[in-house]
């Protein structure tokens, strides 16, 4: 028969052992013979992950969900596989920056912002507090159950029926409060290590594991005949067999969700951060811990399913709550000692969690919430007070007491209702909100303070709306219709299917929306805000923590004395510790520091880190800023600032260049405009010239026509003379118009050029044939001399157009050659990769000043007023256009009275 006093005595004895162990651990630490400095203690302390929610709750979940509880332990295994990068980096960052809590970590990354650290603290407290209540509740429930030994009776009314003074939860709360205050807030430690506490927690991890294994072995091999036996018996029951698959136990969505949640929870729950990061004494321990922790989780889960099925088979009527199987199975089998051991195991699981969680939260509340506020209230003149370490400790102790009181009140109020059962996962979801700013903060320099703040705030609000408030509704604090119909009957705002998102269980649903808003806002806001200098510097320190230190190269332009810094540190950590710290510093830099020396960057940074260890980065920053009056820049920062400056310079340089380019463009435009005006003038001239040229033949045609018309009796011979003139003038007119059209087309680029690579010889020959007429018919005597080389280069031309050029030149030569003894010679040569064709006449020649003129339109050399024009005045300009198109040049060599040589050259075609 298990007496009530035996239970109480054992529990008290156990807690006393805990005190002794913690005390011993602290003593060893004081003597500098640390007991916890090995990977096994470190791994066991991380096993604080397994709370009474694991100890009792896993079996409960397994009984209703089969294997659905398992992802909560598989997730941490996944995280720990990555632990070598993730945790090691976090540990290194925390050591370098003297991080004391998860709020400190986030705030420190994003520019030591007090606002951010405050927000994280609030999220942590609101998110974790119910979880603490759950532990108190578990202890009191298990105690009450055990007190009824050997009766296994369901606890129906929870603690509500019990008076406050008979309520175990209260005594447990008081006891644990004392423990946390004694070992968690013994003194302000610059590194925030609580060796006694860690040792006790590790011890408790051993106890709960052994207790659970003992119960598991008893159930599996004592009550049944091994694993196979239990499962076979369970298979016989239709209802239980559905637990054998995931489909029958929550489905895959919830499987994946729980995996993700627990992956985050194992490091981002404040208590996990405390033991895994803050309390880590040597990052080499991590190497063993990354497989020891999963191994621990594996061991503590082996017997969960057998116990669950064993319990379901043993109590088939469902009167006994599955959450209590670990305790009730040994009781039902009359195993006094085992039942007591199970109770102690549950107690150890609960107390370890409560102790670490309250210590972690109290550090956060004091460092990241209360102190920054107090320091900013100038009226309190806190920053001038001599010794603040006492104040900080008081704040922490009050916080612990307050948290436990709050936890206890929460238990009394909510009692047995829904809220407590699901609260573990609700807390996990709150902790998951820390994942985006921390993970992104460690690998992405672009994240900004505003981004982190917006993401966290949004994630927290959505979390509260989709998980916390519904849990109140389920507990009956607010009407159930809030869940069923949404607030004020707005369907879209139903907390379990926000914005109409259907088909997810509440946890998956909340995880999706919280991360959606958290990550989304974090990234968006980060991309659209700029980082301050301190954010930049912190980002560099976090992301590049493994790079060779940037601390060595600080640039410092402040003006504080060493004494001032020392005084400041002393006010928070105490005179003795301060002196120790600075003596170590002097040893490390190898010189003595006089109080009135100007503090260099190293000392200020060292001082700030000492302070950060005591009061958190955000507060430390405020305090340091009150003493020194300059920003601390390290080389990286300076480089970035330089970078910024040089960007500005670069920008203005480019601006200058742009304006120069603009100036050039304007000049070009002006020139183009001028040219346009000139062209316009030329066009006007051209039109008037064209009309003039057209009118001349027209006038003569008309005059002769009129003469013929007016004199019908004109002699036939004269008439035919006149008609001949009319015909000739008409022909001239036609040629003129053809030429005008030709040149207009050429200039407009409307000619359809038929370019081909060909031998020019046949073309020249054709042109000579075409012009043979004038040489024979004309009454004048004109000789044609040709000198065509045998080998002419291939050219890329339009044969008709080239013929036109040669014909033009020859007919020109014919027109202007000597009237009595005309000689026209045509030569074609291959010269310097060019085809050169020359047409020479022995006429009057052209004065050098007129050479350019002959190629202009309607310009004919000689007096056009006295002499009848011999051509249209467009022949040469057309030749110019054509030769230009072929890529060649055209020119004239001549002097007055010596004949003229027109030549053109076309480059040899490249072999295709």
């Amino acid at each position: 028969m298990l007496q009530g006093w035996v239970i109480v005595a054992t529990a008290v004895l156990y807690l006393c052992v805990l005190f002794a162990i913690a005390y011993w651990g602290d003593r060893r630490a004081d003597q500098n013979r640390s007991i916890i400095s090995n990977p096994y203690i470190y791994a066991l302390s991380i096993a604080v992950y397994c709370t009474s929610w694991t100890f009792y709750g896993s079996v409960g979940r397994a009984a209703s969900n089969g294997v659905g509880f398992l992802p909560i332990y598989l997730g941490p295994t996944l995280t720990f596989i990555l632990g070598w990068f993730l945790l090691r980096k976090m540990i290194r960052i925390s050591k370098v920056n003297r991080i004391t809590s998860i709020a400190d970590f986030i705030a420190s990354r994003y520019g030591k912002s007090a606002m951010l650290s405050g927000l994280v603290t609030i999220i942590a407290v609101v998110g974790i507090m119910p979880y603490i209540s759950l532990q108190l509740k578990a202890v009191s429930t298990s105690f009450t159950m055990l007190m009824q030994y050997p009766w296994v009776a369901p606890i129906s009314s929870g603690s509500q029926g019990v008076s406050i003074f008979a309520d175990t939860a209260l005594y447990v709360a008081i006891f644990l409060g004392m423990f946390a205050i004694l070992f968690g807030t013994r003194h302000i430690d610059a590194s925030e290590h609580h060796e006694g506490m860690v040792l006790a927690v590790a011890f408790e991890s051993v106890v709960k594991l052994l207790a659970f294994l003992a119960v598991g072995i008893f159930v599996t091999f004592g009550m049944y005949d091994g694993f196979g036996d239990i499962f076979e018996k369970a298979r016989a029951s239709e209802e239980l067999a559905s637990h054998f698959t995931i489909e029958g136990s929550g489905g895959y969505t919830s499987w994946v969700t729980l995996t993700l949640l627990s992956m985050a929870a194992i490091i981002f729950l404040p208590r996990q951060f405390q033991v895994a990061i803050v309390e880590c004494v040597n990052e080499q321990h991590l190497k063993k811990a990354i497989w020891l922790v999963p191994l621990y989780l594996f061991l503590i889960n082996i017997f969960v399913l057998p116990i669950a099925f064993g319990g379901l088979l043993r109590f088939p009527d469902g009167t006994v709550h599955a959450d209590t199987f670990v305790l009730t199975l040994p009781m039902a089998e009359n195993q006094e000692a085992l039942a007591l051991f199970a109770f102690i195991g549950g107690l150890s699981a609960a107390t370890a969690m409560i102790i670490v969680a309250t210590v972690a939260l109290s550090t956060m509340v004091s460092n990241d919430l209360v102190m920054p506020v107090l320091l900013r209230i100038n009226k309190l003149h806190l920053s001038e007070r001599a010794d603040l370490s006492g104040l900080i400790l008081t704040i922490r102790r009050c916080t612990i007491a307050f948290l436990l009181l709050l936890g206890y009140v929460y238990v009394r109020l909510i009692g047995d209702s829904y809220a407590l059962v699901s609260i573990g996962l609700v807390s996990f979801a709150a902790a998951a909100q820390f994942a985006p700013p921390i993970l992104a903060g460690m690998y992405w320099k672009g994240g900004t303070r505003s981004g982190a703040f917006a993401g966290l705030a949004a994630g927290f609000i959505v979390w509260a709306y989709t998980l916390l408030i519904p849990s109140f509704a389920r507990s009956g604090w607010i009407p159930e219709s809030f869940l069923a119909d949404g607030p004020f009957g707005i369907e879209l705002l139903k907390p379990y299917s926000l914005f109409g998102l259907p088909g997810l269980d509440p946890i998956s649903h909340a995880l999706f929306w919280t991360l959606f808003f958290n990550v989304g806002l974090f990234v968006l806001v980060s991309l659209w805000t700029t980082r301050s200098v301190i954010e930049r510097s912190q980002a560099n320190q976090f992301v590049d923590v493994f790079r060779k230190t940037s601390e060595g190269h600080r640039v410092w332009r402040g003006n504080a004395a060493v004494g001032e810094i020392k005084q400041l540190v002393a006010r928070f950590v105490g005179e003795v510790r301060m002196r120790d710290a600075f003596e170590r510093y002097e040893v490390s830099v190898g010189r003595r520091l006089a109080n009135e020396d100007l503090a260099d960057a190293g000392i200020v940074a060292y001082g700030e880190r000492q302070l950060a260890g005591a009061i958190g980065a955000a507060s430390a920053r405020i305090m340091i800023a009150s003493v020194v009056r300059e920003e601390v820049h390290d080389i990286d920062e300076m480089m970035e600032m330089l970078d910024e400056a040089s960007q500005v310079i670069e920008y203005s340089r480019r601006l200058e260049q742009k304006s120069r380019e603009l100036q050039i463009a304007t000049d070009d435009l002006k020139a183009a405009n001028k040219r346009l005006k000139e062209l316009d003038r030329l066009k006007d001239g051209f039109i008037s010239t064209v009309s003039h040229e057209l009118r001349t033949p027209l006038t003569s045609i008309r005059s002769f026509a009129e003469i013929i018309f007016d004199n019908p009796e004109m002699p036939d011979q004269q008439r035919s003379e006149f008609v001949d003139i009319i015909v000739k003038e008409s022909e001239r007119l036609t040629r003129l118009i053809d030429d005008i059209l030709d040149i207009a087309k050429m200039e407009a680029g409307e000619i359809d050029w038929q370019l081909r690579v060909m031998d020019p010889k046949p073309i020249i020959q054709a042109a000579l044939n075409a012009t043979s007429g004038p040489f024979q018919k004309d009454d004048r005597k004109i000789r044609l001399e040709t000198d065509i080389a045998e080998a002419l280069p291939q050219v890329n031309v339009d044969s008709d157009r080239l013929t036109q050029v040669i014909v033009n030149l020859i007919s020109n030569a014919v027109k202007f050659c000597d009237r009595e003894d005309g000689v026209v010679s045509v030569s074609a040569q291959h010269k310097d990769g060019m085809l050169v064709v020359r047409v020479t006449d022995n006429g009057i020649g052209i004065a050098p000043e007129d050479h350019a003129k002959v190629f202009q339109r309607f310009q004919q050399v000689g007096n056009t007023l006295t002499e009848k024009p011999k051509g249209t005045g467009l022949g040469l300009p057309i030749c110019v256009e054509i030769v230009k198109y072929f890529g060649g040049t055209i020119g004239v060599e001549s002097a007055l009275g010596e004949g003229a040589t027109f030549w053109f050259s076309i480059p040899e075609a490249k072999e295709a």
């Binding site: 294997v67 070598w84 499962f231 054998f244 489909e247 994946v256 497989w291 999963p294 191994l295």
Partner: protein, 89 residues
């Protein structure tokens, strides 16, 4: 240096393997109500995979050298600083 990189690469590979093995769709292969040696297939699969992963994790980390040349100096410096801190506490 190469060994530490190997450690990192092996751990990443192990992580990816673990994610694949412990999640659908691979999980679906074993998600049915049959038994192997009286133990439900799914349970047996999950716990074997889990155990195997832990063994692999232990092998990978334990076989890697304890100190690495590049980071060792830094690590030692940090440790000494830490142990210095401990004297404070």
């Amino acid at each position: 240096m190469s060994s530490i990189r190997h450690l990192s690469e092996r751990l990443i590979a192990l992580f990816l393997l673990a994610v694949l093995l412990l999640n659908p769709p691979l999980l679906r292969i074993f998600d049915h109500a049959s038994s192997v040696m009286q133990i439900p297939t799914l349970y047996l699969y999950l716990f074997s995979v889990w155990g195997l992963l832990i063994v692999l994790l232990a092998l990978i980390t334990e076989l890697a050298p304890t100190e690495t040349e590049d980071e060792s100096t830094e690590g030692v410096a940090l440790q000494s600083q830490q142990s210095g801190d401990l004297t404070e506490g």
